[in-house]
């Protein structure tokens, strides 16, 4: 299972909660104080960032991996 991260940038205040709890270091707060998805391919869709985002700015949608589909 992979995750597709979407950010509502106008809501993000750059508090860094999502990047702190991300187990794969996918996210980082940039110098403008907004969250950036720096390694989207590493996302495992755990949803920790979305769960604790106090500003409802980050969302993770689960997407099935291509490989899994072909195997099935």
């Amino acid at each position: 299972m992979k995750g597709k991260i979407s950010v509502k940038e106008e809501r993000c205040k750059g508090c860094g909660i999502c990047s702190y709890f991300c187990p794969k270091q996918v996210l980082r707060v940039d110098e403008l104080g907004k969250i950036r998805v720096i390694k989207p391919e590493d996302c495992i869709a755990c949803g920790q960032c979305e769960l604790r985002c106090p500003d409802y700015a980050i969302f993770v949608d689960r997407v099935a991996e291509q490989k899994e589909k072909s195997e099935v």
Binding site: C15, G16, I17, F21, G33, C53, P54, D55, Y56, D61
Partner: protein, 272 residues
């Protein structure tokens, strides 16, 4: 991106909210709307959100229900009025630690005593955030605030014990770290027929954190993770270093709630 279903309960034109970066109130507010969403009987027409004054109480402005932003500490009296006027409504009170236990302390204990069917969610950030970081009745011993520069010497309230002692029939605690647990606790509170009290520990990195060397909201959440213990675990080894979360008290005696008692009075008096 799939639009989240709880977004319909927010006033989109009011977002982003004005809380500081990393403030836990946003997490607790989302937990409330998710709890409402979980109970199919609740909708935007039969749910009323009442709040007092303070950082936490700004939440009513962002939630798309019938909402009431009332006087400082007086959220529970306003909510009592709504519930008595129309007992079919589901009334949820959002309040803060200063709002509920200091200026509204009396209203709080009498709400509990009457066992009126309200769900009170207390956002506990341990400080008066909006007015500049004064010590609240729930600032822990020794923690600093603008009015306690050498550390607070006032012993704090345990609001959960207070609610239980005053007669609330459902008392629970959770934290901003344990989001799904918090949703479950609030859902239980809404379902309970009587006075329900839920203490939601939230982080305040600006007013509380800056004074107490915890400016990183993520670290504050981590502290909650490390310090909170599920009630059944905490009960085996009660210690001051940790605090219990979960349903701390639920009455099984079947106390009558205030609206039902009042209906009987109306019947006796021969009203409609």
């Amino acid at each position: 991106m799939v639009e989240r279903s709880y977004e319909k309960f927010f006033r989109q034109n009011r977002l982003p909210h004005l809380w500081c970066p990393g403030c836990g109130n946003g997490i607790a507010m989302k937990a409330i709307v998710q709890a409402i969403e979980k109970i199919p009987e609740l909708n935007q027409d039969n749910t009323v959100i009442v709040s007092g004054i303070g950082c936490s109480s700004r939440a009513s402005g962002y939630m798309d229900f019938d909402t009431l932003h009332t006087a400082h500490g007086r959220a529970i009296p306003f909510a009592t009025g709504i519930k008595l006027a129309n007992p079919k409504l589901n009334v949820i009170v959002i309040t803060g630690d200063g709002d509920c236990t200091a200026i509204g302390g009396n209203h709080f204990i009498h709400g509990c005593r009457r066992n009126i069917d309200l769900t009170v969610v207390l956002f506990n950030n341990n400080i008066y955030g909006m007015t500049g970081g004064q010590a609240s009745p729930m600032t822990p011993l020794g923690k600093k605030a603008t009015t306690a520069p050498y550390g607070s010497i006032d012993r704090p309230f345990n609001a959960c014990h207070l609610a239980e002692a005053a007669g609330a029939t459902y008392v629970a605690r959770s934290t901003a770290y344990h989001v799904q647990h918090l949703v479950t606790m609030i859902t239980g509170g809404i379902k309970n027929h009587g006075f329900s009290f839920i203490e939601a520990m939230v982080q305040c990195p600006t007013a509380y954190g800056r004074k107490n060397k915890m400016t990183d909201p993520a670290k504050m959440l981590e502290w909650m993770k490390d310090t909170a213990q599920m009630k059944n675990v905490w009960d085996k080894n009660p210690t001051d270093e940790k605090f219990p979360i979960g349903v701390l008290y639920q009455s099984t005696a079947g106390e009558i709630d205030y609206s039902s008692a009042y209906e009987k009075v109306i019947e006796m008096a021969g009203g409609i």
